[in-house]
């Protein structure tokens, strides 16, 4: 979730610069909303946001515990699966680890738990933001 993505589609015109900045702050506020629960991914997200806040760019490169998943993947996930499948699955699990905040430290089982909770939280957040956007649009229409 790089913030730089926001800058990409916009040419830095005067009018748009503040828009980008505003949207970045809104996004950060939304993420802070996500980061309030006591789950592992939520704490990791909090840490990352605080670091960003302080200006240090941290990309969450916690590669230390990837070994945790690699050794157990074949046995845990693929019952009777080929080696290729196990490797594929393992690659996807790694990708998921990178997506879920704090996922890189977790083993497969915990990772799935956190993923489920993270998905639910994201769903709620998206619905809330969507509702808010609808409200704002409506009120703007009322204004005429």
């Amino acid at each position: 979730m790089a913030n730089q993505d926001l800058h990409a589609p916009f040419s830095p015109e005067r009018g748009h610069a503040s828009l980008v900045e505003r949207s970045r702050r809104i996004k950060m506020a939304a993420e802070m909303g996500l980061a309030r629960s006591s789950r592992h991914w939520s704490r990791a997200l909090r840490r990352r946001l605080l670091l960003l806040r302080r200006g240090t760019a941290s990309d969450g490169c916690g590669c230390q515990s990837e070994a945790l998943t690699s050794s157990k993947e074949g046995g845990d996930l693929g019952v009777g699966a080929n080696e290729e499948e196990a490797v594929e699955v393992e690659a996807r699990v790694r990708a998921l680890q990178r997506l879920v905040p704090g996922g890189e430290e977790l083993g497969t089982e915990r990772l799935f738990e956190e993923t489920a909770d993270y998905i639910e939280a994201l769903q709620v957040q998206v619905s809330a933001m969507r509702a808010l956007a609808c409200l704002l649009d409506e009120s703007r229409e009322k204004r005429g």
């Binding site: 809104i26 506020a29 629960s37 915990r110 998905i119 639910e120 703007r140």
Partner: protein, 360 residues
């Protein structure tokens, strides 16, 4: 239910498990009687499981909801795997004191779940999960559910201390039934328990992600899950952009967010927000368009909360609430502040009668 009871020696374990699986729902009714805490929570989880997917994905997962409701649940929502292995017969069968174990497992799990919560390591999580997933059989326990206090501590201690039990002692033993033709040494047993738990999680994820039920392969499902998470993250970005365009007058002061965030107490956060909301109201900001002054709203959720109160003053059409159970889905997160903020937002949403706000 009574008709299912058969002498345990005659049936093979597989058949018993099959019979057990067929009667999950009925067992759920029984089990909930024995678990005043667990049953209530499970019903709550059942509502939330039904509500959240149906609200978000438009899919009716009623079956899964029932299943989740009838399975004894952990405090974080995961079904207690060990209960699946054992058929729950009538109370007369002392050997299979599953019902006792159900309540003892659930209440013990609840206790155990809270303390090691802070443990983030894989071993901690795995060990805790394993100890509670392995069935603990009490030969001397009897049917007394009131004894769950002390035996719980003993079970937790023994379970946490030893993850693998080669030769379980007679009292205070941990039993994991082995299927026919499978190795019974502790390694493969632990492996199998792990695998089953992982597949349980995968199943839950499958229910969560819309459109995932048709896919059978693990790699394909993981692909779907990854795509879904990415799409959700992208939606958050897109919506934040949209919000920025939709409200040029809204200014969110990031500085205040962290001032509040560092304080972990939820209650203070919510009171601060309510204070801010009432302050906004006092200054008679009754419409969005009148938010001319950049008032620092700490966090998007603060804004939503205040806007909710603002709008409630204006718009009060008696609109039917389309999906009231959506609100109960917040219990899944278990964070009171979350539900306070966003639930009020959903109140506004329903009042507006906007079905479009429900995504996917």
């Amino acid at each position: 239910m009574q008709g299912l009871r058969a002498p345990p020696d005659d049936l093979s374990v597989l058949e018993r498990q099959g019979a057990c699986l067929l009667n999950w729902q009925q067992q759920g009714r029984e089990q909930s009687n024995y678990n005043p805490r667990g049953g209530g929570y499970c019903r709550q989880m059942q509502t939330s499981f039904q509500a959240l997917p149906s609200g978000c994905g438009g899919e009716k997962n009623a079956n899964h909801g029932d299943v989740h409701g009838s399975i004894d649940c952990f405090s974080n929502g995961w079904p207690d795997l060990a209960n699946i292995r054992y058929p729950v017969h009538g109370a007369a069968n002392v050997e299979e004191t599953s019902i006792t174990n159900v309540s003892s497992n659930s209440s013990r799990k609840r206790k155990a779940d809270k303390s090691p919560r802070s443990k983030e390591k894989e071993n901690g999580g795995g060990g805790k999960g394993d100890s509670s997933c392995k069935r603990i059989k009490e030969e001397t326990g009897g049917g007394a559910t009131s004894e769950t206090g002390q035996p719980n501590k003993k079970e937790a201690a023994s379970g946490d201390a030893s993850k693998k039990n080669d030769k379980p002692p007679k009292t205070d033993c941990i039993h994991v039934r082995a299927r026919r033709g499978q190795a019974t040494d502790s390694h493969s047993l632990a492996e199998r328990v792990r695998r089953e738990r992982i597949s349980q999680r995968m199943k839950y994820l499958q229910d969560l992600v819309p459109g995932c039920s048709k896919i059978t392969g693990k790699a394909g499902m993981l692909d779907e899950i990854i795509n879904y998470v990415q799409s959700l993250q992208r939606q958050v970005e897109f919506l934040s952009m949209k919000l920025a365009t939709a409200s040029p007058l809204m200014d969110i002061n990031i500085d205040n967010i962290f001032g509040r965030e560092i304080n972990p107490s939820c209650k203070s956060g919510s009171t601060a927000m309510i204070g801010m909301s009432s302050e906004l109201l006092d200054q008679s900001y009754l419409r969005f368009d009148s938010l001319q002054h950049p008032h620092p709203c700490s966090g998007l959720d603060t804004f939503m909360d205040s806007s909710d109160l603002v709008l409630r003053q204006n718009v009060n059409p008696p609109v039917a609430v389309p999906d009231a159970s959506f609100g109960s889905s917040f219990d899944v997160n278990g964070c009171s502040v979350w539900s306070t903020n966003l639930q009020s937002l959903y109140g506004v949403d329903f009042q507006q009668g906007r079905g479009a706000a429900l995504p996917f």
